[in-house]
Structures are given as C-alpha cells and as structure tokens.
C-alpha cells in the first residue's frame, strides 16, 4: 500500500484542492437541480441560484486583482457594468438575426468579456502606475463614471445603421423600422433571459479553473512575485507592467462575464447605484476579504454565504442588517485571529477525513 499510496494523496496538492472545490460546486448544483425537479426549492431560493454564481465569479475575479496581484481595486462593479451593457446590447440587436439561443448567448458572453477587458486595459495602462490608495481612488472613480455615462447614453439602430446620442432618444432620428436599444437612464429592456443556472455553474467552474491554473503557472508566479516584492521581481527580470496589466485585464474581463450573466437574468437592465455603484464594489471586496485574500475557494464560500444570509434573515426585518454585521465580524475573527487559526489547524476536517480513509484502506 505504501508504494502505491492512496490515489488521493498521490496527486498534486493544487489539483486536489481544485478537485475538491469543483466537486463541491457540482454536488451543490445536483442537489439544487434535484430539489427543483421534486419541487422542494422555494421561489426565493430559485431566484437566488444565478446570483450566487455571478457573485462568486465577481468575488474570485476580484481576488485575482486584490489577492494575487495585490492591488486594491474599488471599481469592480464598473467592469461588471460594462460587461452587462455590452452583452445585453449585443443580444438585443442580434435577437432577430441569430435565433440559436446557445450561439447568441455565447457570443454575448464573449462580447461582454472583450469589452470589459478593453476597459480593463485602458484603465490599467493609466492606473497601474499608481500604487495603493491612489489606485483604489481612481478605480472607484471609474466605476462611478461608467455608471453615469451609461445613464445619458442613447443608442438605437435602423436600416441605416447604429445611431448614438447623449441627449435623448428622439435625437437619434431613427427611421420607422428603427429600435432604441439603450435608452439612457431607462437602460436596456427586453433582453432575452438566456442565463440559466446550468450555464452559470459551468462558467463559474471554468473561471475558477482559469484563475487557479494561472496562479500555478509561470505568469501567475510572476504576478505573485510582483505582489510580494516589486523591487526583487524587477531584479530578476520580470516585466512588471506586462504582468500587472495581464492580471488586471483578466480580472476585468471575468467581471464582464458576470455582468453578462446578470443582464440576461433580469427583464430590464438599468445602471443604478444599487447594482453597479460603489456599494456593489465594496460588497465584492467584502467577499474577497472575508473569504481570505488570495484564497479562491474562500471567495466562493464567502460570496455564497453572504448572499444567502441577508435573504434568509428577511423575517426579522429590523435586526437583519445588525445580524449581518455581527456575522461579518465573527467571520473576520474566525478567519484571521491567530488563536482561531491555531484552533482550526488542530481540528482540521481534512485530517479527520484522511485518518478515516487510511483506516478503510
């Protein structure tokens, strides 16, 4: 037995972590699917399944910037906003042309990702020269600017092509066959509801794999080297700007994908302070910090718990946010307090599992 070892112990530690995480996600997916089929899932919970996925995607993509690259970004909702609007815009203009839902939705996701990445690169080129607080301020401003620009943007198309205005929908001068797609503060309505729980879970797993694979590759090591010690990274010949930009762009494009999932899950998409504002960026950051900075699996767990919690506390209206805040504090202590870390290490579930496996073998 010693030569062969347990198959679980022989595989690489990183692969093992990945397998466990993906296993948990798939298991949760199957449980929810069975509950939907047997009618055991409440309407509230059914409505939360897709949000759980895109919040998780937002959390792990921000963790790439905050935890792996080590830069504080407060404009993550801005990239989500770019992805949501470009994706919804694409689907809306193509709804009569591409009838295959799968193809249209895939292209919408790619569109959202590319545009968010584009904005990520543009912002990154300027902003990544700054460090620490300055970066946080500029990304924060970006998130607010994007939201406000979209609120005054009118785009429509007719047989002559696309028309853009920043005044109102009348000044688009559309012909009779024209259609206003982005209607300023009223946003985009009538986006096909293409997002399904299955697609969201698949994308979550794909993005999880992309990030973890990146971390354990040459580029990921370069990014973490910059985080740990920029001067030393330069001294061994690592191109700081290139790898910072890579991480930032990748993180932005994934937020864009989450945005596409969001916009195809609701009937009317508007850029409000509630969905794409400062609070949203902070909430994603809370997921990352509480899940553990640099801990990808932790981000998913935190995103899921902290999305479900306020919903399930709705019955105690007045105390809801109070309890939410207390839970945040408790999670923080449990995650970071040295005594708690020591306690966790002495009672790990993993060790219990391992001894059990050994006994059975």
């Amino acid at each position: 037995m010693n030569n062969r070892g347990n198959i679980f112990e022989r595989i690489n530690k990183n692969t093992r972590t990945n397998l466990i995480t993906i296993g948990i996600i798939i298991l949760a997916y199957m449980v929810f699917q069975i509950m939907i089929v047997t009618g055991n899932l409440t309407n509230l919970m059914q409505g939360l399944l897709v949000p759980l996925c895109y919040y998780s995607i937002l959390a792990i993509s921000l963790n790439l910037t905050v935890g792996i690259l080590g830069e504080l970004s407060l404009g993550h909702a801005g990239f989500m906003c770019v992805g949501a609007f470009t994706g919804a815009f694409f689907s809306n203009s193509m709804v009569d042309i591409i009838h295959n839902t799968f193809l249209r939705f895939s292209l919408a996701i790619i569109t959202g990702a590319i545009f968010a990445a584009l904005f990520g690169t543009l912002i990154g080129v300027v902003v990544l020269r700054l460090r620490g607080d300055y970066l946080a301020i500029v990304t924060l401003a970006f998130g607010e600017i994007i939201k406000n620009v979209i609120n005054v943007l009118y785009i429509g198309f007719d047989s002559r092509g696309f028309h853009i205005s920043m005044k109102d929908s009348v000044s688009l001068n559309l012909l009779g066959d024209g259609k206003v797609i982005l209607n300023g503060a009223k946003g985009i309505t009538g986006t096909p509801n293409d997002t399904t729980f299955t697609v969201s879970v698949i994308l979550l797993i794909a993005i999880y794999l992309i990030i973890t694979n990146l971390i354990h590759s040459r580029s990921g090591r370069a990014i973490m080297a910059i985080r740990d010690n920029r001067i030393a990274a330069e001294s061994v010949g690592i191109d700081i700007t290139k790898f910072k930009l890579l991480a930032f762009t990748l993180s932005a494009s994934m937020a864009g994908i989450a945005g596409v999932l969001y916009s195809h899950n609701i009937s009317s998409l508007m850029a409000t302070p509630k969905n794409f504002g400062y609070n949203m960026s902070i909430m994603i950051l809370v997921f990352v910090v509480l899940g553990g900075i640099g801990n990808i699996r932790g981000s998913i767990i935190a995103a899921v718990l902290l999305t479900l919690l306020p919903e399930y506390l709705r019955f105690m209206n007045d105390y809801r946010m109070l309890i939410y805040a207390i839970v945040l504090i408790i999670m923080m202590i449990f995650n970071w307090n040295p005594a708690c870390i020591a306690w966790r290490k002495s009672h790990p579930i993993q060790r219990l599992l391992r001894t059990k496996i050994k006994k059975e073998a």
């Binding site: 992309i210 694979n213 990146l214 354990h216 590759s217 040459r218 580029s219 990921g220 090591r221 370069a222 973490m224 080297a225 985080r227 740990d228 010690n229 001067i231 030393a232 990274a233 330069e234 001294s235 061994v236 010949g237 690592i238 191109d239 700081i240 890579l246 640099g294």
Partner: protein, 252 residues
C-alpha cells in the same frame, strides 16, 4: 577584455555626491570585494550598476555593451543579477517557487498554455522544477523546497536570495552583504558555497561585505569606497594593510 568596465560613474542626491568618479574593471571569473565604512556609497554603487538609479554621469560596459541607463529588468536580462542587503524574498511563495521565478526569462511558455494546461506547460514546468532543484541542492535547500520562504531561518533566506539571483543565469553576480547577521559557522559555510558556485556556474562575483574574514578569505581583489570615492583598489594584502584604509575604518 574586461567583463565589467565602469568609468567615471557618479550620482548625487540633492547636494550630496553619493558616488562619484567611480572606476572599476572586473575581469571574467574574478571575485571582487567592495568594502567601505557605513554610508560610503556601496549599495548606491550596486543600485547604479543594476539600473535602480540612473547615473548622472559615467558609463557602464558589460562585455563591451553599453548598459548605462537601461532599466533594472533589461540589465538583468543582459546578465547582471543581485541580492539585497535587507532580504527581499517573495515571502508568500515557496522556496522552489522563488527560484522558479528566477528562471522566468529562461524557460518560457505562453500564459494561454499555462491556463489551458497544454503540453508545453507540463514539459516546461518539469524542466523548471528540475533546474530549480539542482540550484537549491547546491545551497543545501532542496529538502526545504516546499517550505514557505518566509519560514526559513535567516541564514537560509540569505542563501535562497543568492540561489534566486543565480537562477537568472547571470554573467555577473552582485552580493550585497551576503554574510550580514550570520554566525561564524554560517559565514564559513557561505564562503564555501560562494567558492563552489563560482566554479560550477562560471560566474563573476562582486560582493559588498563588512566581515573582513570573509573578504580576506575569498576575494581576489578589493575595492575600498569612502565618502562616495575610491580610497584604494587592488590585492587584498595591499589594500587591507593600507594605512588610509585602516584610518577610514578605525579612525585615527
């Protein structure tokens, strides 16, 4: 032909001339010591050579190529690697990963093959692992390859920094106080390691050190810097007995 030839290098900070009229010629394979009292400008000289500071005047030639004013990254690619006086490891990464980051520019595969786990990833990663472990073995750190680098004892952290610098396959290795904070046994071991890597990797070394036992023990030539300027330069026997040098170090 000299490997490194520095002429008339100088830099000022405000009104302070930190280093000036700095001339040094290092032949291939030499082990040069750079000494001087605190604040003499030794580390500043290192920072000039590695592009951390842009010199106000002067010229640096590495194998007859002018590298004056290039960025730190380019200079490392040209073949100068360094360690730091205050250790700068990648603290959250393992010992092995620290060395693999040193190998960054020598073993390449695209980000996409890393993310998609294409064959190039597995092939190159294996090569990187083997090369990194070989380097760690020279420093006796191969047993600790998976340890977090910040969990290493102090002496081993210093060694890991040298290992990481060596991984970039330099022609010239600059060591900034490699024995600082080490006990005599550790210093003796370090001297052996430095001699060993010189032979094994055919690398030319310039080192800053205050431990005169180490300097006199392994350096073939010594350059003394005082108040940013050359005080003496030559064979250890001559330099260390030079009354000017003794005066600079011990006072009158």
């Amino acid at each position: 032909m000299a490997m490194l030839s520095v002429t008339n290098l100088g830099i000022s900070f405000g009104g302070l001339r930190a280093v000036y009229s700095f001339n040094i010629t290092i032949e291939k394979g030499e082990l040069y010591g750079l000494i001087g009292p605190n604040g003499a400008g030794k580390t500043t000289a290192f920072n000039l050579l590695t592009g951390v500071y842009k010199p106000d005047c002067g010229r640096i030639l590495l194998d007859d190529v002018n590298i004056t004013g290039l960025s730190t990254i380019e200079i490392n690619k040209m073949g100068i690697a360094r360690t730091f006086q205050n250790i700068r490891l990648f603290k959250e990464l393992s010992v092995l990963d620290n060395v693999k980051i040193g190998l960054h520019n020598h073993f390449r595969y695209s980000t996409a093959s890393g993310i998609l786990r294409l064959p190039a990833y597995f092939k190159t990663e294996k090569l990187m692992n083997d090369t990194a472990l070989d380097i760690l073995k020279v420093f006796g750190l191969d047993k600790e390859a998976d340890t977090l680098s910040s969990n290493l004892p102090y002496g081993k952290q210093r060694k890991l920094e040298i290992a990481r610098a060596l991984a970039t396959n330099p022609k010239l290795l600059l060591l900034d106080e490699p024995a600082a904070g080490m006990n005599p046994a550790e210093t003796a071991e370090l001297m052996e390691t430095i001699t060993l890597i010189r032979e094994k990797y055919q690398v030319t070394i310039l080192l800053i050190e205050h431990d005169m036992k180490l300097v006199a023990g392994i350096c073939e030539k010594i350059f003394v810097l005082n108040f940013g300027q050359e005080l003496a330069n030559g064979l250890p026997g001559d330099v260390l007995n030079n009354p000017e040098v003794i005066k600079a170090y011990l006072g009158e």
